[in-house]
């Protein structure tokens, strides 16, 4: 297969169309505008529907409708826009509707800035909407990986009847890299017998709902959802570990900061310090056990979390590491990307060498 040069946002849109997405509802916001732009041109060519809604709230509720009818559907936005979608996301999770939501993160809080950031980690992994629910959250660090994640996300969503979020910083959306289009690994997916597509007079109507007014029924529904989340915890963990046997310091980072940590590891090597990288790819379910094992390696003296936020990922790292090694934070927020030197210096500080 030949390599093609793709901009992150456009590649994400193309990957969705290739994955069978036929409905897209969105509202413009930088730095993700090339996703709806690409969809507006190419989704109709594939026989699909592109619609620019009157707001993010409308768009996510259109996703609810399309998902309820069994269609493959996606929406995308950036941080403030994703905030507006939170009610809809909670309802989608409550009604068990599969869909893909892309968040190309920018600096916050509030309107913030259009520059890349990762300040929506808590919102994505803890649930920005109400109630006990979970999203599977995938975090690409290259354009190729973004394409592969989008392809897989639709299958994962269908398998679990659950929304899947692609969480990437603005840099992933804006940069161009080579992409090779990979065929999907064929997952056997359940038939969508629950979809509201008309009974044809042959069965009882399907009802899609997140209202369970009887608390006993509501408790049963929550228990059912939780059983599903347990299966996700067991089967959907993804990570990349590049850790030499003699690593002095272990970096933990996702998305663009993971690439900067790799650059910092090269700088540290020149100074006689060996660094390793643990990169969570599924932010939820978080690769808790593998990270604990990596941090437990005898040579590792310190764990340094690198994130474009001021202490969000580091909470999950601390839970995973569970005190076996000291955990520190190298964080930048508000649209500023840390330099490899700053990341390397954070490691030196954690090792007590600076």
């Amino acid at each position: 297969m030949s390599k093609e040069l793709w901009k992150g946002n456009e590649a994400i849109a193309e990957a969705a169309i290739r994955a069978g997405c036929r409905y897209f509802f969105g509202y413009p916001i930088t730095p993700q505008n090339e996703i709806p732009e690409y969809m507006s041109l190419h989704l109709p060519e594939a026989g699909g529907v592109f619609l620019q809604a009157e707001s993010e709230v409308a768009a996510i509720n259109m996703v609810y409708g399309a998902a309820g009818s069994g269609a493959r559907v996606m929406t995308s936005s950036s941080s403030p826009g994703i905030s507006l979608k939170q009610e809809g996301i909670s309802y989608l999770a409550g009604a068990e509707l599969p869909c893909v939501i892309v968040n190309i993160m920018r600096g916050g809080p509030g309107l913030g800035t259009i520059q890349p950031a990762q300040g929506d980690y808590f919102q994505a992994t803890r649930g920005g909407g109400n109630g006990d629910y979970r999203l599977i959250v995938l975090a690409p660090s290259t354009i190729q990986e973004a394409c592969d994640h989008v392809r897989d996300a639709f299958d994962i969503a269908d398998r679990y009847r659950n929304p899947v979020m692609i969480l990437a910083d603005g840099m992933i959306g804006q940069m161009m890299e080579a992409v090779e289009w990979q065929p999907s690994e064929s997952r056997t997916l359940p038939e969508k017998t629950w979809a509201t597509v008309g009974t044809g007079g042959t069965r009882k109507p399907n009802i899609i709902n997140s209202l369970f007014i009887d608390p006993n029924e509501s408790e049963r529904h929550n228990a059912h959802l939780n059983e599903k989340y347990d299966v996700m915890r067991a089967e959907e963990v993804r990570y990349e570990a590049t850790i030499p046997d003699d690593a002095d310091v272990l970096f933990v980072a996702y998305g663009t900061p993971a690439r900067l940590a790799k650059a910092a590891i090269r700088l540290l090597a020149k100074e006689g310090i060996t660094g390793g990288l643990f990169r969570p790819i599924s932010l939820w379910p978080f690769p808790e056990k593998p990270l604990n094992e990596a941090a437990s390696a005898a040579s590792v003296k310190a764990v340094v979390t690198v994130e474009m936020s001021l202490g969000q990922l580091v909470d999950d790292v601390k839970i995973a590491v569970n005190g076996v090694k000291p955990v520190s934070l190298c964080g930048k927020a508000g649209g500023i990307v840390p330099t490899p030197r700053e990341v390397a210096d954070a490691a030196l500080a954690a090792l007590g060498r600076k």
Binding site: L5, Q115, Q174, M176, R259, K262, P340
Partner: protein, 193 residues
């Protein structure tokens, strides 16, 4: 081999296009490549820049902070990014509008009067391709056939005649860089054949 390239200028000078051509051409030549634009509010009527990394090894960070090669299409770009170029690095200056010389002596400077050369070709819009030709002559990254193939996909139908014009701009930029005179600062904007 890794080229960390920073290309900077006013919006409209074709800064992003130089970067995309380098990145896509580099990919077609078998290198690992990345292209990263600045996308801040300064792009609207102000300066624009992009980072391009071309390497025969896996690319780690797409952000170019210390370029091995800087293309300064206007004066503010040279002032802002000139000091960050690595020692022994290369600085390509659009001498048609940059009104100062490269003061550093630990880098190689190439002065390319892109607009005068483009004007000679009858189309000021190919000034960026003139610059690309100069850069390509010095780095040897792209073969003319590769660029021709890319241009042929970009310019089709009534625009097909632009392929040869752009290739000619590329050649004239290369000829400029091949002449030692281009390494000497002059504010006369003279074009050396």
């Amino acid at each position: 081999m890794t080229h960390d390239i920073l290309i900077s200028g006013f919006g409209g000078q074709g800064v992003m296009a130089i970067g995309k051509t380098l990145a896509e051409g580099g990919m077609k030549e078998g290198y690992e490549v990345s292209w990263l634009p600045s996308y801040g509010p300064e792009m609207r009527g102000g300066t624009a820049n992009c980072s391009v990394v071309i390497s025969d090894d896996m690319i780690i960070s797409p952000i170019v902070l210390e370029p091995t090669l800087l293309i300064a299409m206007n004066t503010p770009s040279l002032v802002k990014f000139g000091p960050n170029v690595i020692p022994e690095g290369k600085v390509f200056v659009n001498s048609s509008i940059v009104d100062m010389a490269v003061e550093r002596t630990d880098v190689s400077a190439y002065y390319v009067p892109t607009m005068e050369i483009a004007q000679k070709l009858g189309n000021p819009r190919v000034a960026n391709m003139v610059m690309l030709g100069a850069v390509n002559h010095v780095t040897g990254l792209l073969r003319e056939e590769t660029v021709r193939e890319m241009l042929s996909q970009l310019f089709t139908g009534p625009k097909a005649n632009l392929v040869e014009l752009n290739l000619e701009a590329l050649r004239m930029g290369a000829a400029c860089a091949a002449n030692d005179a281009c390494m000497i600062w002059s504010n006369t904007h003279e074009y050396h054949d």
